[in-house]
Structures are given as C-alpha cells and as structure tokens.
C-alpha cells in the first residue's frame, strides 16, 4: 500500500502587516476628521501679530466668526452668512444651549486683515448682546516682520 505524504504542512503564523495597515488607516482617518470637526473656518488672510499665542480652545465651546471679502465684507458662521440681527440671535441661542450644558462659550474672531473695523465692531456688539464674554482674535504668528511694525500696508 502506497502511502502518500501530505504536502500540506508547516507552521501557521499570523500576518501582522495588513492589520497594522488597517490600524494606521483608521488612526489617520480619525485624526484628520477630528481636526476638521473642531472649527469651521473660512479662507482669510489673518493680520500678523507678535504677541498672539497658540492656545487651547478645546476647554470652551467655540463659535468661529469669520469676516471675509474685504471689498464687500460678510460675516460667516458655520458656512452661513449672517446679518447683525441674525448673528445676534444665533449667538444667543448658542450661548443658551452652552449654559444648559454648563459649558462656557467663546467667540473666535477670524477676520481678514483688510476688513474695516466697522464689521468687527458689529460682530463684537452681537457677541456682547448675546452675553458671551470670551473674545479671541485669531492672528498670523508665522510671518511677522518685527522691523516693519509701521502703520503702512
């Protein structure tokens, strides 16, 4: 009787490479999506600042007020344009829901450097009327030329 040796033999080992691959994919996915979920920002050219510092905004409930288009300024919050009145109402409702959750509201102003102060003042008034105390102005700290801190563009 001929006995045929089975050719299927050997150790069974676990292939870790695809699992590591999957883990890193998930990690990158959650890191990137977490960044995009925190602040709703528009594309503006921020004013330069020597004294602005990176801060931890995660301790507050933040609302980002973007002021875009210096030639025809608009106040944009979460992708929607607002007038002064709608901004006031929106901030009031956000502040009320934050108070209900025992959270502290904070406004982050992200205005283009060439926007006139009138529009910034409008946003400030709206935040004041909504009884929001925290007011952070976002600035560019990456390309400040200390020697040229003069009142010229």
């Amino acid at each position: 009787m001929k006995l045929v040796k089975s050719s299927v033999c050997g150790d069974v080992s676990f292939n870790y490479t695809p699992i590591l691959n999957g883990v890193f994919c998930l990690l990158i996915f959650f890191v990137l999506t977490a960044q995009f979920m925190t602040l709703e920002v528009e594309d503006v050219v921020l004013p330069p600042s020597l004294t602005a510092e990176p801060k931890d905004y995660t301790q507050f409930r933040n609302v980002v007020i973007n002021i875009i288009r210096p030639e025809n300024p608009a106040i944009v919050v979460m992708g929607h344009e607002h007038t002064y009145r709608t901004l006031t109402e929106h901030l009031k409702s956000l502040n009320e829901s934050a108070k209900a959750d025992n959270a502290k509201m904070n406004v982050i102003l992200r205005a283009d450097r060439k926007v006139p102060y009138e529009d910034v003042a409008r946003a400030m008034l709206a935040a004041g009327n909504a009884q929001i105390e925290g007011w952070w102005i976002q600035a560019d700290i990456s390309r400040v030329e200390k020697a040229t801190l003069k009142g010229s563009p």
Binding site: L46, P47, A52, K114, M124
Partner: protein, 156 residues
C-alpha cells in the same frame, strides 16, 4: 535509472506590497498630523458683562488711556472716496503718526513711570480703520505689558 533531483532551495521573499502600504501610511500620518494652523495664534480678551438692553457693552465713563486709530491715505490724511489703507495713531490726543513701535515705546515709558499695568486702555478706531491696524495696536499694548484692553464700539 531515475535520478532524484535535489530539492530546489526555497525562495523567501517578504510581502512588499503591505510593507509599502504601511510606510506610506506612516508618511501621510507624520506629514498631516502637525497642526494645519501651526502659524496661527490668538489674542485674548473679554467682553464686559453687564445687564440691560445693551448687555455686554459698558458706557465709556472711566478715566483711561485712549488710543485712537484713524484710517488715512499715504500722505497721512483722510482721502475722500479713496483708499485709506494706512493708519494714524493718537494717544490721549498726542499724535504718533503711523508708528506702532512708537506707541509701544510710549506705553512702556508710561509703565516705567508708574502707570499700573491694569490701567484700562481703550482702542478707539474709526469705522474704516483696517482690522490689521487694530490688531497691531493690541499687539503694542500687550507687548508693553498692559492687560486691560477695551475696544470702543458704537451703540446700536
């Protein structure tokens, strides 16, 4: 006669495709996770809390240092129906032109002469003053180590 051939040596090759995949994942991870806003910072202040119909806005009734900012043209004068992209600074009615370094130096001198760092400093820009000049005035005040900065806004 049948000659048995020696067994062929096993060719061992690590799986390259998953390895390259993981390397690219690591590369993307380290390229993208440094914050996209690494070049951005914040100037922090608090709006005053008050009750009433204009909650959050205090009438200006305290003695304070007042920094006025005016939007002007290149020659230092306001241009009617023109671009006023420059800034002129006045501190308690003392004119400084457009020099924010002079503003900072003036404030530092005041502090050295005994002015309290908690003195309320009011930034009062004209409505046409560009946002970047307001931020630079804020910068100069903070650099001179004053902490109580207020902004003048028009009532509704």
């Amino acid at each position: 006669m049948r000659v048995k051939q020696p067994p062929k040596p096993l060719k061992m090759q690590p799986p390259l495709t998953p390895l390259i995949d993981v390397i690219f994942n690591l590369l993307m991870f380290f390229l993208l996770t440094p914050s996209a806003s690494a070049g951005e910072g914040y100037l922090t202040t608090n709006l005053p809390k008050s009750a009433g119909p204009v909650a959050g806005i205090k009438p200006i009734d305290e003695v304070r240092l007042k920094i006025e900012l005016y939007d002007v043209g290149p020659n230092g004068k306001f241009v009617e129906n023109g671009r006023n992209d420059y800034c002129s600074i006045t501190v308690n009615q003392q004119e400084l032109g457009g020099n924010f370094e002079a503003l900072q130096a003036l404030l530092e001198g005041m502090r050295e002469r005994g002015l309290s760092p908690n003195t309320a400093i009011l930034i009062s820009p004209t409505m046409g003053t560009l946002h970047e000049w307001v931020v630079r005035a804020f910068d100069s005040i903070v650099a001179a180590r004053f902490s109580n900065v207020q902004f003048a806004v028009p009532y509704e």
